[in-house]
C-alpha cells in the first residue's frame, strides 16, 4: 500500500497527464466522425488478421458437418437428376428449352462474416454483383430460409439475416395453408414469431412453417421451421413460436435464389395499385 502511494506521489503528474489525454482522446474519437472512423478502421485492421485465422480454424473443424451436408445435398440432387433423366430414357423425347419456363435461379455462396448477437443481424457472403447477385434476392441455407440480400458490392453481398428486427416475411402453415407474418422478436436466435394466424385455425406443435411465395423474393414452400409453441394474442390471432430449421450459429454455405420474373410481376401489380 505504501509502495503504491509512493508510486502515485512520484508519478502523479504523469498519471494526471495520461488521464487527461485519455479523456481528450475519448472526446476526439467519439466526437469527430472522421477520427472515429479512422480509429475503428485501425482497430479492425488489428483484429482482422486474428479473426481470419480463427475463421480458417473453425471452418476446418466444421468440415465433417459440411461434408455430410454436401453429401446429403448430392444425394437429393442425384435423385432429381435420376428422375429427370429417366423420363428422357426413351427412344423419342422432346427437347425443351429449360431456361424458358425457369422462374428461379440458384447459386451457391459462402458466408464470410456473420453475427447473431445483435438485434439487427447481418451476414456477408462472398458473391456479389459480378456473380449476378442483386439486392432483394432471397438467401437460403440448404433449403431453409436464411435472409434477404440488402446490399451488393462487386464481389460481396450483405444479407439481412432472418434474425433482424426489420425482417418481415410472409409465411404459412403447411398443413392447412393459412398464412401470416413472420418476424423475429430479438429474443432467442433459435425461434421466430409467426403472427396473424386466426384463432379458428387448428394446428399442432411440430407443424411445418414455410414461405408462401406471395412476395416476389422467396419461392413458394421454402422451409422456415416448425411450430414449437403458441399462445392467443389479442382478440383474434395466435402468436406462434417457430423453431427455426436454420442454425444461424453455423451458417457456412448458402444458396442465393433470384426471381427471374420479379420485374414482370412487380410491373404488372403496380398498374393496379
Amino acid at each position: 500500500m505504501r509502495n503504491l502511494l509512493n508510486f502515485l506521489a512520484k508519478y502523479n503528474n504523469l498519471i494526471i497527464f495520461l488521464v487527461l489525454e485519455g479523456i481528450a482522446f475519448y472526446l476526439l474519437s467519439t466526437g469527430n466522425s472522421y477520427h472515429n472512423s479512422r480509429v475503428v478502421k485501425g482497430l479492425r485492421g488489428l483484429t482482422a488478421g486474428v479473426e481470419r485465422r480463427v475463421s480458417n480454424a473453425t471452418s476446418y473443424f466444421h468440415l465433417r458437418e459440411i461434408s455430410q451436408f454436401v453429401a446429403r445435398e448430392n444425394a437429393s440432387l442425384r435423385t432429381s437428376v435420376e428422375r429427370l433423366t429417366s423420363a428422357e430414357n426413351q427412344l423419342f423425347f422432346s427437347v425443351t428449352d429449360t431456361v424458358h419456363y425457369q422462374q428461379y435461379t440458384y447459386s451457391a455462396a459462402g458466408v464470410v462474416n456473420n453475427t447473431v448477437n445483435r438485434q439487427k443481424n447481418f451476414f456477408t457472403i462472398n458473391k456479389g454483383r459480378l456473380q449476378g447477385l442483386s439486392v432483394d434476392m432471397a438467401v437460403a441455407s440448404g433449403d431453409c430460409v436464411a435472409g434477404v440480400i440488402v446490399g451488393c458490392s462487386a464481389n460481396y453481398s450483405v444479407v439481412m439475416s432472418l434474425l433482424n428486427l426489420d425482417f418481415r416475411l410472409s409465411a404459412r402453415l403447411k398443413s392447412n395453408g393459412y398464412f401470416g407474418s413472420l418476424s423475429w422478436d430479438g429474443d432467442d436466435i433459435r425461434h421466430v414469431i409467426l403472427s396473424e394466424i386466426p384463432q379458428h385455425v387448428t394446428f399442432g406443435i411440430g407443424d411445418t412453417v414455410e414461405t408462401t411465395g406471395y412476395s416476389v423474393v422467396f419461392p413458394e414452400g421454402v422451409m422456415i421451421g416448425t411450430v414449437s409453441d403458441f399462445e392467443k394474442s389479442g382478440g383474434d390471432f395466435y402468436r406462434i413460436k417457430v423453431a427455426l430449421a436454420t442454425d444461424f450459429k453455423k451458417l457456412h454455405f448458402v444458396n442465393v435464389i433470384g426471381n427471374l420474373r420479379k420485374e414482370e410481376q412487380l410491373e404488372l401489380e403496380k398498374q393496379f395499385q
Partner: protein, 168 residues
C-alpha cells in the same frame, strides 16, 4: 494573489477573444493557421503546481475545442503542451534560475530566452494538433510543413503580443 488570478483570467478571455475573432479567420493560403491561445499556458506562473497546470491546460484546450467544434483535438495538444512546460523551463533555465512571484516574461528574462521557450512549447503543441487533425501518416511531410509554418506564425504573433504586454 487575487489580483494575479484576476489578471490571468483577463488574459485568458483576451487571448480567446483574439483567437476566435481574429486569428481563426486568418488562414494564410489555406495552409497556415496561427494558434495564439497557447500563450496562456506559456504565461502561467512558475511556482504553479504541475497538476493545476495540467488541469488549466485541459480547460484551455476544451474551451478552444468548443469554439472550433473539434472535441478533443485542441484538448489533447494543449494538455501535452502543459505537460512538457516544466521540462522546457528546466532546460531553458537561465544561470540565475527563475524568480518566484512573477510569471515568464520577456521583460525579465530577455527576448532570446522567451523566443526559445515559446518556440519549443508552441512547436510541440502544433505538432500534436496538426497530426491529430489529419490523423494519419500518409501526408507526413506536408503536415510537417504546415506545423513548421504555423509555428513560425504563432510564435511571431505571440512575441508581438508579449512585446505589447511588456510595453504596458
Amino acid at each position: 494573489m487575487i489580483n494575479r488570478i484576476l489578471r490571468l483570467g483577463l488574459l485568458f478571455i483576451l487571448l480567446f477573444l483574439l483567437q476566435v475573432l481574429l486569428f481563426n479567420n486568418i488562414q494564410f493560403s489555406g495552409f497556415v493557421n496561427p494558434y495564439i491561445y497557447i500563450m496562456f499556458i506559456l504565461l502561467l506562473p512558475f511556482e504553479l503546481p504541475s497538476w493545476i497546470l495540467l488541469i488549466l491546460s485541459f480547460a484551455t484546450g476544451l474551451t478552444m475545442d468548443l469554439f472550433s467544434g473539434t472535441p478533443g483535438m485542441h484538448t489533447s495538444a494543449t494538455v501535452l503542451a502543459g505537460f512538457i512546460r516544466p521540462y522546457v523551463l528546466r532546460i531553458t533555465s537561465p544561470r540565475d534560475g527563475y524568480e518566484t512571484g512573477a510569471g515568464p516574461s520577456m521583460m525579465v528574462y530577455g527576448f532570446r530566452w522567451f523566443l526559445i521557450y515559446a518556440s519549443i512549447v508552441v512547436f510541440v503543441h502544433h505538432l500534436a494538433l496538426f497530426y491529430l487533425e489529419v490523423f494519419r501518416l500518409a501526408d507526413f511531410f506536408s503536415t510537417l510543413l504546415r506545423v513548421i509554418l504555423s509555428t513560425l506564425f504563432s510564435v511571431s504573433f505571440i512575441m508581438l503580443l508579449e512585446y505589447l504586454r511588456k510595453g504596458k
